[in-house]
């Protein structure tokens, strides 16, 4: 009897809790969190007859504030571009033995296009595309040689906008020291660091300054890495070290680990006696993806995954899909510096116009951006 009472009490409390949660979510329905998840079982009826855009994430998942998040945003943009016709969904990979089953699940679901994220999925995507020559695929951060006719391979020459980021960082540094670090030593990471390094050197040669780069040396290809893209404490400690060494512009290339760097920058800001430290965000516009730290972001060195993925899905839906390799550059807008936001008035207009000159120089080819991690 006692137990029955206790059980019913628990049930009632659970019900009340759920009721409370339920009403609070109903007030915020339409918020981004609600739309970020694929809709529940009821949606299968409403998606009938629609073009289905399907994405397989890497192990980071769609909340990685990096390429999975950008890709998923691109998918959602494709859906909102034509919600009557396009419907998107995703599958999360928890380990890499999930890649092939996830892709196969989507093939069985008759997806109009399957977008895979990251070079680790290159093999699984290639195998699936060969087994399903009539299926359409897109892959982020990988290119095939030779190119595959039914895979839109999306690659980004981020050395180009990182070069501009480096130039800007050198121009904004008061201490003559800037710093960068990576999550893991992967080409998609070091390409940013190469570009950043080159940009600083270019600034030095133009202005006769000696701004130095901590955390990366392009010629030796050695530098600082935190070891993963998740442990923010490592990013915070490393950034703290850089600040102690005198760096006042930090450029983390490490996904979520960059949040740790932002924490360190914030701490330095609140401490008397420390130099004023700022940073540049990577991959996405930091003032949107990590808005709480926006006041420390001079700019963000972005990678147009979002637009490229959106284009892949919309072209597949409209029947104008093209396979092969796509490389995002400053010229085609596939990579770019984000707006300055809070720094719009703080970046000297002379520096802003110099940046424009640098951009034109890179586009025209008069400024060479060398990298040992070719896109």
């Amino acid at each position: 009897m006692k137990k029955t009472l206790a059980a019913s009490a628990v049930l009632t409390v659970a019900g009340l809790l759920a009721a409370a949660c339920g009403s609070s979510t109903s007030n915020t329905s339409g918020s981004s969190s609600a739309s970020a998840k694929p809709s529940g079982g009821s949606s299968s009826a409403s998606t009938a007859g629609k073009f289905l855009g399907c994405m397989v994430t890497d192990t980071g998942g769609i909340d990685d504030r990096s390429f999975n998040a950008s890709s998923w945003q691109g998918m959602q943009e494709a859906q909102s571009a034509d919600p009557g016709k396009i419907s998107v969904t995703y599958l999360q990979s928890t380990t890499q033995s999930d890649y092939t089953p996830n892709i196969n699940t989507f093939i069985a679901k008759k997806c109009g296009i399957i977008v895979t994220v990251g070079f680790l999925m290159a093999q699984a995507t290639q195998t699936a595309s060969k087994a399903n020559p009539s299926g359409k695929f897109a892959i982020v951060d990988n290119a095939y040689t030779p190119a595959l006719s039914n895979v839109d391979a999306l690659l980004f020459d981020t050395a180009q906008d990182a070069f501009m980021g480096g130039y800007l960082a050198a121009g904004m540094s008061k201490t003559g020291k800037v710093a960068t670090f990576g999550g893991e030593k992967l080409p998609t990471v070091t390409i940013y660091m190469d570009g950043f390094y080159d940009g600083v050197q270019y600034y030095n040669s133009k202005h006769g300054t000696h701004v130095s780069v901590l955390g990366w040396n392009e010629s030796s290809q050695n530098g600082s890495f935190t070891g993963d893209f998740t442990n923010q404490t490592n990013g915070q400690n490393l950034t703290q070290t850089f600040i102690t060494e005198g760096a006042d512009v930090i450029f983390p290339v490490a996904g979520n680990v960059g949040l740790g760097a932002a924490k360190a920058v914030q701490n330095a800001d609140s401490q008397a006696g420390s130099q004023k430290v700022n940073m540049e965000w990577v991959d996405t516009d930091g003032c949107i993806s990590a808005a709480q730290y926006c006041k420390y972001f001079i700019t963000s060195v972005t990678k147009g995954i979002q637009t490229a993925v959106k284009n892949a899905v919309t072209t597949a839906a409209s029947g104008s899909f093209k396979g092969g390799n796509y490389i995002g550059t400053l010229q085609n807008g596939g990579v770019a510096l984000a707006p300055f936001h809070d720094f719009a008035s703080k970046v000297p207009s002379s520096l802003q116009s110099e940046l424009n000159t640098v951009k034109q120089g890179i586009i025209s080819g008069s400024i060479k951006v060398a990298t040992k991690s070719p896109a």
Binding site: G15, G41, S42, T95, N104, L186, S373
Partner: protein, 439 residues
């Protein structure tokens, strides 16, 4: 950590471990509970409770259900129906993704003839879910056996992950580095996988036997060492890096001669690795229950002091057990590399090491139990993608259910309380699983 919290601090020099009325150490108590206190009934009930709790979690993290419960007092029926639909929908999807999907059969009847259906893969799609379950279960069986064998001899093998990597490195290297005829190449790579894992296990056993280093510490450290060694090897073009990978940490593909043969045609991924895993389970059963060596393993596991005084070499047993355990984990890598992935990268080891421990615990460290537990987890893994694709429930729920099962299996009194079962007789007759930290 090494003793039960309730045991009084032992004076220096005393050996509380050897008193007959000694309180069991903390970890020993857990393992005893798993092995001796648990009937099959309790295990099944634990799975049931985990599934129910998982269902509640699914229901009450779904937006539409929460919405309906917001109006609970105006339409309680709708709220309960919504919750039921969400949870049962997810489980049905898991079932369809892992065992049997009725849609595939209706597609089969739409084909003109059996030969067309056989040719275009409609027949295969009926068996695709089962095939996936077996594919997912294969490395779990082998890695689970690895942990189970060590448990039975009183050792905690937390290092299945490192042994997996050891086996994977050797199997991959033999897979692309040498040219051999078809059957021989497969066998050579499988043996390579075993040896690669066995070397890691041997080192752990040797360190414990010679220096007394605790295998838990050593195997955990070995995991880190092997993870970074793998990343290092994959980053060096002359070692394991794929030509033209530009620093992307991935190995070349193994030769097609080294692929484990597919069992039922190209549409299904089930391969000879599954048979290998079953054979190993049978082998481990024979080893542990029918051979002299297995008797020594179990005796050392039950009481190393008694084993020593009856003339068995405890240190030799430790080394041998870890060698076999390591080899089995290496074989798990072999089945993944040669059966499904065909190349190795810096994250290939996934969660096999941890999953292996849960499989061994759920399987009560018996070969048959390990196979069943691995099949259950394999089915959960295989069904997860379809569940997320058709209901939107995140695949992480599968991890939660897995964890809940192990939690309830490890806490039989909880399950008995829920179902009002009588406690198992004290000092059950089941075999001893492990001796714990102080052995």
């Amino acid at each position: 950590m090494s003793e039960s919290p309730s045991a009084p601090a032992a004076p220096p020099g005393s050996t509380p471990d050897r008193k007959p009325e000694e309180k069991p150490s903390f970890s020993r108590a857990i393992l005893d509970a798993v092995i001796e206190g648990n009937s099959v009934v309790v295990t099944i009930l634990a799975i049931l409770v985990a599934i129910v709790l998982g269902g509640l979690l699914i229901a009450f993290t779904t937006q539409s259900v929460l919405h309906a419960w917001g109006d609970f007092f105006s339409s309680p029926g709708n709220a309960i129906a919504q919750a039921w639909d969400a949870a049962s929908g997810a489980y049905v999807a898991i079932f369809e993704g892992s065992i049997f999907n009725p849609h595939t059969v209706s597609a089969l009847f739409q084909q003109k003839s059996m030969s067309i259906a056989l040719h275009d893969g409609t027949v295969s799609s009926v068996f695709y879910p089962l095939s996936e379950t077996c594919v997912q279960a294969t490395p779990l069986i082998l890695a689970g056996l690895s942990v189970a064998v060590a448990f039975r001899a009183g050792l905690f093998n937390i290092g299945a992950s490192s042994q997996w990597i050891g086996g994977a490195i050797l199997a991959t290297w033999l897979g692309y580095g040498v040219n051999l005829p078809i059957v021989i190449h497969v066998v050579v790579c499988v043996i390579g996988g075993f040896v690669g894992g066995a070397v890691l296990g041997y080192v752990v056993g040797l360190l414990k036997a010679r220096t007394g280093a605790h295998e838990v510490i050593v195997t955990i450290m070995a995991n880190y060492i092997m993870q970074y060694l793998l990343a290092y090897l994959l980053g060096k073009p002359k070692l394991l890096e794929k030509p033209g990978a530009n620093g992307n940490l991935i190995s070349p593909n193994i030769a097609s001669n080294a692929h484990l043969p597919l069992l039922f045609g190209t549409h299904l991924r089930i391969n000879a690795g599954f048979l290998l895993a079953l054979a190993c389970a049978a082998g481990v059963w024979w080893l542990m229950n029918r051979s002299t060596l297995g008797f020594e393993f179990r005796t050392v596991g039950a009481n190393p002091n008694a084993a020593r005084s009856s003339g068995m070499s405890v240190t030799r047993t430790w080394v041998l057990v870890m060698l076999i355990a390591g080899g089995l984990a290496g074989l798990a890598a072999s089945t993944v590399i040669q059966g499904t992935d065909f190349s190795l990268n810096f994250q290939s080891y996934g969660t096999y090491g941890i999953d292996a421990i849960t499989v061994a615990l759920l399987g009560r460290s018996k070969p048959g139990g390990v196979v069943l537990a691995a099949l259950l987890y394999g089915a959960l893994h295989a069904g997860a993608p379809l569940m997320q694709a058709s209901t939107g429930v995140p695949v992480d729920i599968v991890q939660v259910i897995q964890a809940l099962i192990v939690m309830f299996v490890a806490a039989p009194p909880l399950v008995r309380a829920i179902f009002r079962l009588r406690a198992a007789r004290a000092g059950g007759t089941g075999q001893v699983l492990s001796k714990g930290w102080n052995s």
